[in-house]
Amino acid sequence: MSAPSAADVEIAAAVLADHVERAQASEVARQHGWTFTWLDPLHVVVEVRPERTAGNGGHFFVKLGAEYYDLHPPTTTFVCPPEPGADTSTSSAWSPAPSDSRWFPVLEPLPWFAVHGAYSFADGPGQLVCCSMTFEYYITGHNPTAGQQWRQGQHTLVATLSRIQDALDSPNYRGSADAVRP
């Protein structure tokens, strides 16, 4: 993908709202207990829980953005929750999770998924959820096959969340970074 254009804000917001509503009502969301918190019309945070730690407090927050949605996948970042007392409904309150934090998952890379704490982007290092269902994957020199590419009309943010959930439920998931790399 070369220099993608940002989506029309009103259309992207409407599409995101529709897809979040459908996701919330889906069997897949109920199965995994995903909960959605709106930050603004273009951003939503989703709480995801690895299956093995369900009920034991293990969980992560994934911020999805519709800046390029849904011609392209959502921007995707594991984020830290706001400090106690802070306004949880502002996008800036949810900062990218540092790679040594409790909010960053440690995974042995899978053929179809990895999380990098400091990947080289054109504007400097940053977190990369490395999967063809995230926007960032396409601006970091990856070359998915035709069958792996995001397809508008077939994929929604559920595809992004499903891959994250499947990775966290896989034997390759080691735990949160602060526990694995104390």
Binding site: S26, W112, A114, S132, T145, G147, Q154, V158, S162, R163
Partner: protein, 106 residues
């Protein structure tokens, strides 16, 4: 009940032993849709797969995966079996499958 891809079949009638039809439930993990297909037990798994792609309005890709939701077992490998044979051999007794398209990463 409908999905974004059209109507799905009535599920109000529960499956019963000896019944000649069964309901196959398939979650599409690419978009969150769930379809339910009532099929004769003499139908092949391949025919259910074909119906799934029709409902999803997609063509099959070699990188697609279709798994038993309960244990992750690949369903495509049993395409030649009838549903009756598939169940008799102990596979995926609740006939709840999960579809996911190809994914690149790492």
């Amino acid at each position: 009940m409908t999905t974004a891809h059209g109507p799905v079949e009535d599920t109000s009638t529960k499956d019963r032993p000896g019944e000649r039809t069964r309901i196959v439930t398939i979650d599409n993990r690419d978009n969150g849709d769930t379809i339910r297909l009532r099929r004769e037990v003499s139908d092949t798994v391949e025919s259910v797969i074909a119906a799934m792609y029709e409902e999803f309005r997609q063509s099959r890709d070699p990188e697609d995966r279709l798994m038993c939701r309960h244990n992750g077992q690949d369903v495509f490998q049993f395409a030649a079996l009838t549903l009756e044979e598939y169940l008799r051999r102990g596979h995926c007794q609740d006939l709840h499958w999960a579809f996911v398209g190809g994914t690149g990463g790492a």
